[in-house]
Amino acid sequence: MATPPNSQETRNAASPAASPPRPGVARYVSGSAAQALLVPVLAVFVGLLLGGVVIAATDAGVAAVFRAFSADPGGVFRAIWQAVVKGYGALFYGSIGSPREMLDGYRIYLETGDNKALLKAIYPFTESLTTATPYIFAGLAVALGFRCGLFNIGAEGQFFIGALGAAFVGYSISGLPAFLHLPLALLGGALAGAVWGAVPGYLKARFGAHEVVNTIMMNWIAFRLSDWLLTGPMQAAGFRPVTPNIKMTAALPRFFEDPLRFNWGFILALVMAYVVYWLLFKTTIGFEIRAVGANPDGAKYAGINVVRNFVLVMTLSGALAGLAGTAQVLGVDHWVGQGFSAGYGFDSIALALLGKSHPLGVVLAALLFGFLRSGATRMQSLAGIPIDIISIIQGLVIIFVAAPALIRWLFRIPVPTAEETVLTRGWGK
């Protein structure tokens, strides 16, 4: 999962040779930020390319002409081209929208003051940002764990518990003004998630129990606990296994009217990304976290309390994952039902990998996932491509990101000189 064992040597060996003209695609890219982005961007590109192959291979139109390949090979390529363009065209318009409609809508708004057309035009874009919001929080949660060498697979369970905690504060308290109720609900969700993260953190620190095993077990406890809560103590009136709706004083305010669900949760997610960045790179705590992640034994000899950092990071990680569920309840759904999450917690592991465990990278990766997921609705409807293709593309992207050597080999990119992120140390250390 992590960097190759001999990467240190290769890196050192490659560093003096990096200043002469760089071969391959890297020749056209300069600057360290661009260098860092190169592999993920190319991975996304190759993922989309192979996704196009899957689209073409499963397209009925292509299959129909393929039988007559020898008679009309050109027709096959035309059909493939049409299928891919149609699919990705729908994905593009479904996730970003039509620029022309946006301009038209803006003109109408300026001329008549009627914002209907404009809102309709920006709906896909705002919907993508809304979909990206929980991904940002959950991706930060996993990335923070990676920085400390911890593999938090429990983000999914923490997401559920956080959502339930926020919903509980949201519906059970009434009469509070929004400026008190909303922070309280956010805190409730974060705290619930933090508890769910702290338990495996403590078990690891105190008893050496591996966090991978424990977070998975905590997931199952969270799922079954939420099943029970939704059919018992937290069930709304009526027969449906859902919580009551939160009071509107606890809701994250939306920027526009229905059906646009874009809300302050997105802003909060960006703020939180900055906070995590600041914590990791501008504070002593962050330095200790990174030191433990890089080499726990070395950190210990340097006088850093490794055990305390494990608990701290798992708690913060749980709180962030809890906030992902919180933002979804308070901003988008306003209630929690069975199967509330669409696997945000699991996707966020991939996200953190794609974002190289850097808060900015996580935000960018989350936006990518948000746009893919959101655009998939339109692709499914207009191009008839099952929504699962998005999961395939995501999976392909992750494979290429997790195997940067493959992308470097494909595009002839030299091994970077910059420090690479330690993702996890794996088992038994």
Partner: protein, 393 residues
């Protein structure tokens, strides 16, 4: 090799970039596809048809289904509703599509997508979409909706409309499709009571919600009626209407739970089981097949077709014909006869029934068959009711 690759990759990038500037694909249909979508696509092709409309004609009406989180191939109500749309596509010039919901935030998004596309009818599946469907229906009075297993008004005194429930009155543009499955389950209960060798039959549910418990209630009534008529004493495990209590797995997924429950019911002597929990019931069927000591009764669809591996232990199935309901809703729409409100599908109109006995055709005594046919008639003409039997009249 390096250069070749560089050239190739640049070509790919360029072609992609250029395609973005190229004009949209021509509106004429590709030559390989039928020009006017009067014919449905090959039945082996589950995704929505994608024939572009002929440029001069108005596009055929769009019928869009929004699934719940079970997905389109849940072998239960989503699949059944989609079959109804597919059947309609074979008969009429319509365009049928479905959108799968992967999380609850997708419900409103998927409905919104169909509204943007100008759908003629939006079919939402399951009670979890109840509130959202009503919200959109009220906001878009010109649009038509059908919702499976749900009906309006769904509000109770003091409930906040649009938040806790969908509507406090019937909606003229929403048709709620509900099923009197208790009538069909009544027949199954009577049959089970007549066929049991141990004198004990059993049922269990997925989650305790009305669309599930209605099966169990009807089954109980059927067993009770058999006991009344024959002076028998067949016992039912797993549900009791008087106490409103029964056995539930708590989910609609775990076939292991189905195995476990079937085993414990068998230990208590049951030899016929009605599982009302979707695919969970297949676990019970597997136990029966292995031990050859029990029979199961399928639900929703005829398991003889959907679970052919368990034919040898399948006594019958309690049919809930969602496909028929969706099909007839589409037919009404096209004939201009669509109306809102609640449409109850009962045994009288064939919306619910029990499946043929298939492999047990010879095992079920002719006398019992005749009695069941008589009960079916009595249920149709109303001289016999499930509630009447349960309340002891």
């Amino acid at each position: 090799m390096k250069k070749l690759f560089a050239v190739l990759s640049m070509l790919v990038i360029l072609s992609l970039a250029l395609s973005a500037c190229a004009p949209r694909p021509t509106p004429t249909p590709p030559p390989t596809q039928p020009p006017a979508p009067t014919k449905p696509p090959a039945p082996t092709q589950p995704p929505a048809p994608t024939q572009p409309p002929a440029p001069t004609e108005a596009p055929p009406p769009l019928i869009g289904q929004v699934t719940d989180m079970g997905g389109i191939d849940d072998k239960s109500f989503n699949a059944s509703a989609w079959k109804g749309i597919q059947d309609a596509m074979k008969e009429f010039a319509i365009q049928g599509k479905y959108l799968e919901s992967q999380q609850q935030a997708d419900y409103t998004k998927n409905i919104q997508q169909y509204i943007d596309e100008g759908a003629a009818l939006i079919v939402t599946v399951g009670f979890l979409l109840g509130v959202d469907t009503a919200k959109f229906a009220i906001a878009n009075p010109d649009l038509k909706f059908a919702i499976v297993d749900y009906t309006y008004p769904d509000c109770w005194p003091g409930a906040e409309v649009g938040v806790q429930c969908g509507a406090d009155k019937e909606l003229p543009n929403v048709r709620g499709l509900i099923f009197q499955t208790d009538q069909a389950a009544f027949l199954a209960g009577y049959l089970a009571a007549g066929m049991t060798k141990t004198g004990v039959v059993a049922t269990y549910g997925g989650i305790k919600i009305p669309p599930v418990t209605i099966f169990m209630k009807g089954f109980e009534a059927g067993v009770k009626y058999y006991n009344q008529q024959k002076g028998a004493n067949v016992r039912l495990l797993g549900w009791e209407t008087a106490r409103d209590e029964g056995t539930f797995t708590g989910n609609f997924e775990s076939t292991d739970d189905g195995r476990r429950l079937a085993e414990s019911f068998m230990q208590e002597g049951a030899d016929i089981i009605l599982p009302v929990a979707g695919p969970v019931g297949l676990g019970s069927a597997a136990v029966c097949k292995e031990t050859k000591a029990c029979l199961v009764i399928g639900v929703d669809a005829d398991w003889y077709d959907t679970a052919p591996e368990y034919r040898e232990v399948l006594l019958t199935s309690v049919l809930k014909k969602i496909d028929v309901a969706v099909y007839s809703t589409i037919k009404d729409l096209l004939e201009g006869k669509f109306s809102g409100g609640t449409r109850v599908y009962a045994i009288a109109d064939g919306g619910v029934d029990i499946a043929p006995y298939h492999e047990f055709e010879d095992d079920v005594p002719a006398e019992l068959k005749a009695e069941i046919d008589a009960i079916r008639k009595a249920l149709i003409d109303g001289s016999l009711t499930v509630d009447g039997v349960l309340s002891g009249q």
